[in-house]
């Protein structure tokens, strides 16, 4: 292999172009690469964490341990561990029955917005604390259409050594009794709390898959298109940045089923925050809202730090 004549700095650049499984293979292909990975351990650790979406910290476990845990963990035991805690789309009539916490309740209920489109709902990895759905949503009202369940975020910070890897997303729109079933939406994620949502704004009013693909191309995202009987989707292969676009979805409201649709996210990627952009609804009446029953990120939880909490 003549490549071994390249400089160490060249190999470090080559590593940046590769993904997790490529790195795992390369690391044990031969003595040269094995030694290279050992010699550049810190660099490789940072690069793998970057690919996994995990913020670098000295207390994070070595990358090969995280990869082993990922490989050995079951994908059949996925959990619903995120809680919606913020919306800028309001709540229909300010009623608890229509509030964002319904989005992850698979026993029924529907989130009904007040506004009509491009509504951002933020979720947080919150395995220990769940909101009491008997409360009055106005308790969490910040301004006319903005609600924030602040204590969820405060409690979520106690779980730093665990991190969820989102594998599937369940999306359900109401089958009947609601005038504005959600038709198009997008899902995103991030590891850290994000203040700048300009990337998500790029996808505002993105009502066709061609729009989604074009926007993805501008952002240099590679995309996989899925066309099913009851929905079409663009699954984005995640690139690294503060916010990861996961998928754009358009539901065929004529053919929707009560079981909802399952979107598989593909690559391993860790996230503590999950975002849903409710782009538009099928409107029966003018100036109406958006109704959506569930958007549930299902994840498996991996220990990434040294400390059990």
């Amino acid at each position: 292999m003549n490549f071994i004549n390249l400089k160490n700095s060249n190999f470090l650049e080559i590593i940046k172009y590769l993904e997790l499984k490529d790195l795992a293979s390369l690391s044990i292909t031969c003595k040269f690469f094995n030694n290279f990975f050992i010699k550049n351990e810190d660099f490789i650790q940072k690069q793998v964490l970057y690919l996994l979406g995990i913020e670098y910290s000295p207390s994070v476990n070595p990358w090969k341990i995280i990869l082993l845990r990922l490989r050995n963990s079951s994908v059949t035991g996925l959990q619903n561990l995120f809680q919606p805690y913020f919306t800028d789309g309001g709540t229909y009539c300010d009623k608890a029955y229509y509030f964002i916490w319904r989005l992850v309740q698979d026993r029924g209920g529907t989130y009904c917005t007040h506004l009509q489109g491009n509504i951002l709902v933020k979720y947080i990895f919150s395995p220990k604390v769940k909101p009491s759905m008997d409360e009055d949503p106005t308790k969490y009202k910040i301004s006319e259409d903005v609600f924030n369940i602040h204590y969820l975020e405060e409690n979520a910070n106690e779980n730093q050594s665990y991190c969820p890897e989102i594998r599937k997303i369940l999306i359900k729109v109401p089958m009947g009794g609601f005038s504005c079933p959600c038709e198009t939406l997008m899902c995103f994620s991030s590891y850290k709390k994000i203040e700048n949502f300009s990337l998500i704004q790029n996808f505002h009013s993105c009502k066709t898959k061609e729009d989604a693909i074009r926007n993805g191309e501008i952002l240099k995202l590679s995309a996989k298109i899925i066309e099913e009987n009851d929905y079409e989707a663009v699954i984005f292969k995640k690139i690294i940045g503060e916010i990861q676009p996961i998928c754009w979805v358009k539901i065929n409201l004529e053919k929707r089923s009560s079981n909802g649709i399952w979107i598989e996210t593909g690559d391993s990627f860790f996230a503590r925050y999950f975002y849903v952009l409710l782009i538009s609804a099928r409107k029966i009446y003018p100036n109406s809202n958006i109704d959506i029953s569930n958007v549930i990120p299902w994840s498996r939880v991996i220990i990434i730090g040294n400390v059990w909490i």
């Binding site: 650049e13 993904e19 293979s25 292909t29 090969k64 990869l67």
Partner: protein, 165 residues
């Protein structure tokens, strides 16, 4: 100043627009203190590589092109660059030529072409399990059986080739 004279390691002279300094940090620095008609010696760059480098520079009109996608998402370099010409250019080269060109771009501090070459090398490693890599590069029995077993248990993912599905 419109043109500069570059001299390859064999002593062959080539004239090129001074805009080449947009692509080469080495040339950019030289031009800070450049006397008209002075030759610029490139002691580590062969004539063949210099020709290829200038072909690349002229094609891109001496402007830094879009970098390759990072990480790459396919073993085909054409899927990872925005200009198909870049893929055709680097696909013409064999392994040794790419290494030579990387060495030349190291010398010239020419990041855009170096990135293209390194992305092409990364494509050669993409979606390949260890057995495939070893077969392609003729690597045999480098580790003892004991170490090999330990490495494989530490990196079980390395045993599984990935696809781009």
């Amino acid at each position: 100043m419109s043109e500069i004279t570059l001299v390859s390691k064999e002593g062959t002279k080539i004239q090129i627009s001074s805009q080449f300094s947009n692509l080469s940090g080495f040339i950019h620095n030289i031009l800070q203190d450049y006397q008209q008609n002075e030759d610029i010696s490139l002691a580590s760059v062969s004539f063949i590589n210099l020709q290829m480098i200038l072909e690349y520079a002229v094609h891109h009109n001496f402007q830094v092109p879009q970098p390759p996608r990072c990480p790459i998402t396919s073993p085909n370099i054409a899927d990872n660059v925005s200009d198909p010409w870049d893929a055709e250019f680097v696909n013409r080269l064999n392994e040794d030529q790419i290494i030579d060109l990387v060495t030349a771009t190291n010398f010239l501090d020419m990041k855009s072409l170096m990135d293209l070459c390194l992305a092409k090398i990364a494509c050669m490693f993409k979606y390949k399990d260890i057995e495939t890599l070893r077969k392609e590069y003729g690597i045999t029995e480098e580790f003892t059986a004991e170490i090999e077993e330990k490495l494989k248990s530490d990196f079980p993912w390395a045993m599984e080739a990935e696809s781009n599905d």
